[in-house]
Symmetry: C2
Subunit: 182 residues, 2 copies
DNA sequence: CTTGGAAAGTCAACAAGGCTGACATAATGT
DNA sequence: ACATTATGTCAGCCTTGTTGACTTTCCAAG
């Protein structure tokens, strides 16, 4: 099974998995092996990234979907369901189930819009804010420790690569969040 | 609670969410705002990261779980179910369901171990290798483009931060994979 | 004022992919 | 002989995603 062709169709840039010093020292960071390490780093790091909030959520019978909703409601207080839908990239039925649970638990408040009464403006209740802070602090703690360990130059690179990975549409969303909430 | 202490346990470093320039210019990259941007970057980038393989998988009736299994079987041909269990961090029942599907589709072969006949050695079939390459190329293509756009210094930082985010146990796994498969 | 369409909510049904618990089988090690 | 290990499997449950169909509310254009 393609033992000889592990590198496959590397589009002329990746130098094959094996040779770490494949002759040309330029663009070594673009070898298939380097790229694959990046892929695996994303996989393992994302596991770690969600681990701390997940523990907190589990004890309250909530899941990652609830965390995401809480995060972005906190980020943009008074946001509408439609906005949240776009940000989270799920269907309204999925989101609605999550929001119903959060409202039932007294963590989120849904108020009819002032200008357009069809809209619902979502905000965290004081209880919701408490949970948000707990989740956020857990996640930020890990991220901050990683930042501190890696240093400012590494952090800049980290963000650069992540942003470059996003589709233009997603990147636009990500950046507009930074403006609004920042 | 702790309205005045939004930064919480920032160990005297994060300056609170609002003030991007909280007075001391050193360690600016550790402000809550910077850290939060990193968190959101992880969220959006991970969506992008999985989008391409997901499209390919969908057309074959497979999911992300199958991709992960295929990836690590490709990475460590002949690996056992137990090893895979540890790497993926799921239960054997979950993994078994996935493996059964992959074997039924003729993508993975499970052979009784030579030394220890209780074990099953897992390898990709030629068909499985074809699919692996398609998935891998899609994902690597995006990653490679991001690497190229960001440059080698950024890539080094990217990997540093991701590794620093992992728990020691996960990091050990990640690094031992690099040795073995590289 | 009526009507079209947007925003939101809801019900039903389904699938993927996690989980636990219980149990079977075969092989290994003591 | 016996306990342990590696694996597989059945049954059932949960979360979180999906589609489709339908209703209610409301704004805005005709």
């Amino acid at each position: 099974m393609a033992e000889a062709d592990k590198t496959g169709i590397t589009a002329g840039l990746g130098q094959g998995a094996a040779p770490a010093a494949g002759g040309t020292e330029q663009l070594l960071f673009l070898t298939d092996e380097q790229v694959r390490k990046g892929i695996e780093a994303m996989f393992f790091a994302y596991r770690a990234f969600t681990a701390d909030p997940d523990r907190i959520l589990e004890s309250r019978g909530l899941g990652r979907a609830h965390h995401r909703a809480i995060h972005f409601i906190h980020r943009s207080p008074g946001t509408t369901v439609s906005n949240l839908l776009i940000t989270l990239g799920v269907t309204k039925q999925s989101l609605n189930r999550v929001l119903r649970a959060l409202i039932a638990e007294g963590l989120v408040e849904s108020r009819v819009g002032r200008h357009d009464k069809r809209e619902r403006n979502l905000t965290l209740t004081s209880q919701g804010a408490v949970l948000e802070r707990a989740l956020s602090e857990a996640q930020r703690g890990r991220m901050r420790a990683a930042y501190r360990a890696a240093g400012p130059v590494a952090v800049a690179g980290f963000r650069q690569v992540l942003e470059a990975m996003m589709d233009p549409e997603l990147r636009r969303q990500y950046q507009s969040l930074s403006e609004v909430g920042g």
